[in-house]
Symmetry: C2
Subunit: 198 residues, 2 copies
Amino acid sequence: MERKPTEVRQEEIRKAVLQIIDSEGLHNLSTRKLAEKVGVTEGALFRHFKSKRDMLLSIIDGVEDVLMKSLQSVAMSDAPSSERLFKFLCVHVQYLIENKGITMLLFSEAAHSNDSELKSRMLNVLNTQKQLAKKIIQDGIAGGEWDSSLQVENVATLYMGIPISLNIELVLNPLGVNTENFCKRMMCLLERALRKTK
Amino acid sequence: MERKPTEVRQEEIRKAVLQIIDSEGLHNLSTRKLAEKVGVTEGALFRHFKSKRDMLLSIIDGVEDVLMKSLQSVAMSDAPSSERLFKFLCVHVQYLIENKGITMLLFSEAAHSNDSELKSRMLNVLNTQKQLAKKIIQDGIAGGEWDSSLQVENVATLYMGIPISLNIELVLNPLGVNTENFCKRMMCLLERALRKTK
DNA sequence: TTGACTCGTAAGTGATTACTTGCTAAGTTA
DNA sequence: TAACTTAGCAAGTAATCACTTACGAGTCAA
């Protein structure tokens, strides 16, 4: 029976939640499995979070504090647009790789949660990601880097599929995905789509 | 108490399963909700499928028989590659719009199911989609339509994100997505990425 | 030393899960 | 019409769900 301060256990629980979602899916996330993974009894979990829902909300807090702030600062920087877009994609993908359950949690809860606070916060994260991507693309077009006949909205829609493409890759090919180069390979295609028609 | 032949009820049940997955997610698909939606008791469901698992397997049967066969025939046709790719995307997207729970079911079960038959069939569907897309792209490059410096694999990865981008759009913007033009808008960007660098 | 506080356990709680049982009436065939 | 099959119902089942309760043991300040 190992005792740890509540902040440490909370972090362990959040990590375990994401691990279970990543490996078994949200519908297999039970407090029993979670307790087993953390190495405590079910009762102990509720010492640190008042409900399962609160664990998920705490995870979103982390996404907003870490990922969204980074994305925001990249999108608002004054680097050239193509550099910004690449950096944006890298930060985005890196975070999803290091926090593997997030993609499914975000996507699944944004679409299907019957908890309106949870749902709206998930939707907000997705929507903000898209708006930031749009800003970069818009800047690149206005600044003459990219083709002015492009529709910003469409490029942003295409962009939003990319992080999930990575998840599909990892599922189809769990061993051999080159996550290092993933961003470069996708950025190369985005650049081709964005460049000016001469 | 309305009696219907088992084939009719089976189809009603499959539709109801997908409706629930689409609107509330796989983790909210219970036999209770399902029975309510179909308009029978829970017991009656098990007259037509021997388990909940069997309902999902029957849905995959449909995906393989209808969607995959159509995609196959489009990919193998002798039309120009850009026409084939557009048709491929249209057939793909059209099916997902008409069977709205499929995307989440495919994606979620392929990644997370602990049922190995279910999982491998879902993976097979995703993998086949990607392989067919690769064939079209490869043909277009070999035939001189598209740029020979492109990596087929990367374009196919990008392609696989597009149907899910549609889902994200529908979630972010449940009323106002122009699904009519979605394929055209995405195809336009794909064409830009694929065209030759002069 | 005592008393408060914190983090843990074991053993519950009622609700919900997928699924089964025993029965009945409608439809079909002999 | 009688016999059989099919598709429905109401009322169960054990298992699992998220969560609670009552209690104990370590830490630390007064």
